[in-house]
Symmetry: C2
Subunit: 213 residues, 2 copies
Amino acid sequence: MKTTHFSEKDILQMESRNRAAFINSLHGFKTASLIGTIDTKGKTNLAIFNSVFHLGANPALVGFISRPDSAERHTLDNILETEFFTINHVNKDTYVRAHQTSARYPMDVSEFEATGLTEEYTDLIKAPYVKESHIKYGLSFAEKHELKINDTILIIGKIEEIMIPEDCLLSHGGIDIEKAETIAISGLDGYHSTKLLSRLSYAKTDTLPEELN
Amino acid sequence: MKTTHFSEKDILQMESRNRAAFINSLHGFKTASLIGTIDTKGKTNLAIFNSVFHLGANPALVGFISRPDSAERHTLDNILETEFFTINHVNKDTYVRAHQTSARYPMDVSEFEATGLTEEYTDLIKAPYVKESHIKYGLSFAEKHELKINDTILIIGKIEEIMIPEDCLLSHGGIDIEKAETIAISGLDGYHSTKLLSRLSYAKTDTLPEELN
């Protein structure tokens, strides 16, 4: 493969939407995560995020980045008001509707109604889940960090409950997210199905990893 | 699909390595990123991370989480010493060697030598790239945030240069990472190839997204 080199100057000179697509592509495959929230008046909100990341397993913590000057503001406001949110995986049947949640609907329009995804609730979490999602989990707000470097907000949530398809739990504790039909996203607009190459054993210095499947 | 529910108590009671696999699976597909660094004595280090996330496009910023009490300590120390690092995508030909970098090699062993991946350098970045990676970018250290909630460190890097295969740049600025053979990772041990379902047009409130491909 012949390589193209981009300098910092090349990146700065890109048209702004092209640059967003370019830089967002760099981080490779991610899971499209629908974040569900509700305000104190009962109006729900659903927004697609691709910056949800693992922060720790004990306690079980998740981070994501919110841009306060964008439509993501509604999600942020609701989490700070109610201190709850849900994260819902996107699958092959829901990705077009999930993508559509990124349109700039006004505050008084719920993306659930606008896109036809269905609200679902549990007793514990004061925020709507997406009924059509196969893997979903509920979180309480834990911490907020203002990242001055580009005026974004890091939200940290603590996982309170998890719902996964019964037949997708692997023997070593992992989840078979491919079997659960979770899809991968690339850049801002690419949606991909996956095919397992292999599962590798825990790495040790004195042997090479073995294929577990 | 029948759903299994896990409460916070269920999660706390899991065996610790199973819990790590379980919670790491929740965030869906991610890209396996090899982070290359070097210390001031010239000893290189290469480590696989799955918590690299997009922080912003202008300036082009990337974040990742480092656990100071783990083998990731070497990466963190090197970045703070030299203020440079590289991020290299993992592809079908390199994922077994990439996985192997997570073995707990002592500080005086370079994971490049141990796994057979090849160091590559540019004039700009004082850290090694992975020659076998098709998409790679170099960063300068920008900020460090200590996340007291679980004693992890958020490292923010500024992208200084980017190398991608010439034929993988899309017309709207995005990168065809599937064509570049980047793979997706699930949990701590699952490696997956991908297949594009579709690329969707920018979402607007008055129309449904169109397939761009």
